[in-house]
Assembly symmetry: C2
Homo-oligomer: 508 residues x 2
């Protein structure tokens, strides 16, 4: 076991995310940007204003905590050669960040100068840990009635909704914000370019069927429901040639086509691997990462996807604004029926729900982000590498690299390192990488294997980027989490190790 | 696609393994070694002499093909500066190895000297490919009635036998030779120290149950049969302190205890992960790699394993030799009943079958290998890395490193490289590594992913052992195989690439 000393990431009390006071110069998004369409509260009858307010408060609170780090450290830096530097620095940190800085980093500042790279990485990790702990203990994005959505899904003819968005940080909020779905009920597994792993999905399909057969969860295997696999690709309406999906060369048509192909391949894999009419249903979703408006590609009568036909939520938003709730809902239903007259009625019901949900997010972006995010490009705060990160449901917070090994995920990691070379290294700041492996605590020694996994990946990361690691421009925090521990709420992450450690500890 | 040119591993006709003529000095095992107990054909009534003859012919044929390489190349080497060297060399190769050598390697010999490392690696790969092709086309170890064993297994109360032996090359023949089981019916997955992966086994358990539920294969889920997981650890009766299992420090007690712990952990993982009384049965087997005699640890009444109690096949062989078949069988049954009076009768029936089968192997080693293998230590001919190698059912032919990535399997690979550093590098010969990934051809693009996988692992190998690779002391052959192609027989391996290539090809 690691030493659990004060001012180390291996020892920390549970505390909510600090909401630091705003400072001039800090990146704070104005409620409505100048020139953007101004929309009053709840103008659209189908928009849930209360949900929007709660979601914005959370987004604002978490991002402000991360964005307070640089200004606070700038201030600390300016004081580093003053005599009561340590006292002043801690006062600033407490006030602006809500926590104290590691005394051992501050204590050495007088000898040479403050090791700002270490300090920055430490603050990002500390802020991440507070955010993560808050998520698993206070459940800020929880759902009052998750059973309602599961029941609705089954009424529509599906027993599971398995979504693979692109791993781009600008899609990390797709479940809870963009689609307004309960994140514990929907499966999310992100991949670069939304090009999900077919073998992994086949395995999930098998697991799902077995639970239906053995345990009747979520329904029994004889119920005529299907496995619904969805892909979310993305594009940028403001800067289509540069801010779209990097994995598809910012080409929305290519991104959609690749998603469709992968979905069809998975469907064929299920059909060829299992007998007795095994199959799945498919859903292809496009997301404009500037506005969070979705487009739903329409199902064909044969269970395929019409590549060139979709219903656009932004258009529906404009078309139904000012209507009464009931009329707006009927208009959405009518548009879907016109566009896909042969689609099964259950699928159309689900699509209508997704479109209606997305109207709230369209208004959210209009109201709180000026209709278009100011950060239409990458602005992630850290890289998340490994398996887990259920708590990351916010846009542009995390660059995901879902991985088992650096060896297999090297291309994805290289993209992430390239992004952060511009965002951080170019300004002299290190790349913070959270290495995380979740495990099933009810499986004997699963924790030990997750720990081993974590250490191996952290080592392989340092080996892949030796120059960055040697220059203190790559820092890692190693975590595991027991996902069998009080499903969802309760099981906090466990810190194993951190590359920012006291030199004395390093000697051991 | 690769060029499929003559004299390259990317082009080869299907041919049976050559049976080179014996030469003085080649490693050939005499029918009975001097001083070993001499046993006449079929002295033990339960031994199947015909099976033994067939198995020995096959072992002899394959190993002789590999063992002919060094003497043939020595002879070739001695001639390399003669004027009609190429003609003479090809004549020797055809006669002794059954194939021609790559002309482009021979052609350069006059300039400097013959690149013996490349030539050796090329010959090992060519011999391996002929052996593998022969296996998948001629089915030399096939079973007349595989259904009989599956039916017997179910009568004993089990629907699957899933065996994890140690990955040591001295156990590679455990299914077909030591236990005399049909290799297509029994699952084999080897791990260093027999420490199998619990998550992988859980997945297999789920897959097996799903097939029973959905397809009634091998029986329906309501049949009261169980999943039987077996571990085979090993030890050396001649040199217990040095030639036992390296992963357990050549300590038989530790090896047995570790196997037992892993089995119990898997059982607990199934019980904790699934409801409704899900569980498995366990079997712990020890193997004396000098004599191929097994010991079966006895099941306890509670479904566990008695750590210190076993029945020894070598002892039973001596005890029942000279008895009539029926009496010998009854003696075995009686010994088992005495040793484990509370074990379920189905389990005892299976154990009796395994013991009886092993008597044939004990006599096989006595008759053909002098009662104790002359190569009690490592003497593998190549490293097999990746997933597949169903065709390797022979002792001391292959050091297995079952792996997805070099990153995860580095410790196992390091052991393999250490073994071959002694066997080959110490004599100036390279380490031949066959990198292989099998795939399900019915899953779309699975072949492309296997190809990608193969290339990635071959690259990672070269990166892990840069000095060996640079000195031409590490050579790789990359293969994939479609396991959905005519189950078992028929689907040959496909050669993707080989580190021994014509320089002209390398330039592309």
């Amino acid at each position: 076991m690691l030493n659990r000393t004060r001012n180390s990431h291996t020892a920390r009390p549970a505390q909510p995310v600090a909401a630091p006071r705003r400072r001039p110069g800090a990146r704070v998004v104005p409620p409505t940007a100048p020139g953007a369409p101004r929309v009053g509260g709840g103008v659209h009858a189908l928009v849930r204003g209360d949900d929007n307010a709660r979601l914005f408060d959370y987004e604002q609170r978490v991002k402000a905590a991360f964005d307070a780090i640089v200004p606070a450290l700038r201030r600390v830096s300016a004081l580093q050669h003053e005599e009561d530097f340590e006292r002043q620095a801690q006062a600033i940190a407490r006030e602006r960040l809500g926590f104290e800085l590691p005394a051992w980093i501050l204590a050495d500042a007088w000898v040479d100068q403050l090791d700002m790279r270490r300090l920055y990485a430490w603050c990002v990790f500390e802020t991440y840990l507070r955010f993560s702990d808050d998520f698993f203990s206070a459940d800020p994005l929880g759902w009052a009635d998750e059973g309602e959505f599961q029941a609705f899904l089954q009424e529509c003819g599906f027993h599971i909704l398995d979504i693979s968005p692109c791993a781009d940080g600008r899609l990390a909020h797709v479940i809870r914000y963009v689609l307004r779905l309960p994140y514990r009920t929907v499966r999310r597994k992100s991949y670069a370019g939304a090009l999900f792993d077919i073998e992994d999905s086949l395995e999930k399909w098998g697991e799902t069927e077995l639970l239906r057969f053995r345990e009747g969860t979520p329904n029994t295997a004889d119920a005529p429901t299907r496995y619904l696999k969805a892909v979310v690709y993305h594009y940028s309406s403001s800067a289509p040639d540069t801010e779209g999906c990097a994995a598809h060369g910012s080409d929305a048509v290519r991104a959609a086509e690749a998603g469709r192909e992968r979905l069809l391949a998975f469907q064929q894999a299920v059909e060829n691997s299992y007998c007795c009419g095994a199959s799945i249903d498919l859903l292809l979703i496009g997301l404009d990462t500037d506005t969070d408006a979705i487009r739903l590609h329409l199902p064909s009568a044969e269970g395929g996807i019409e590549p060139g036909a979709w219903v656009d939520a932004a258009q529906l938003y404009d078309e139904t604004r000012g209507l009464h709730a009931r009329d707006a809902g009927e208009r959405i239903d009518a548009r879907l029926r016109e566009a896909a007259p042969e689609a099964p009625s259950g699928m159309l019901r689900l699509l209508a729900r997704l479109l209606e949900n997305n109207l709230s997010q369209i208004e959210y972006v209009q109201r709180h982000h000026g209709g278009r995010y100011p950060d239409i490009g990458h602005a992630e705060r850290f890289i998340g590498a490994g398996k887990g990160f259920e708590e990351v449901q916010l846009r542009n917070l995390t660059y995901f690299a879902y991985l088992d090994t650096v060896e297999e995920a090297a291309p994805d990691l290289d993209v992430g390192v390239k992004i952060f070379s511009r965002l951080n290294v170019g300004h002299g700041l290190p790349i913070p990488v959270v290495v995380r492996f979740d495990y099933h605590g009810k499986v004997p020694a699963a924790r030990e294997r997750a720990v081993e996994h974590c250490r191996r990946v952290a080592g392989a990361l340092a080996a892949r980027y030796p120059a960055l690691a040697a220059d203190g421009l790559l820092h890692t925090l190693q975590l595991v989490r027991d996902i069998d521990h009080e499903q969802g709420v309760g099981g906090r992450v466990e810190v194993l190790d951190c590359s920012v450690r006291e030199p004395a500890q390093e000697a051991h």
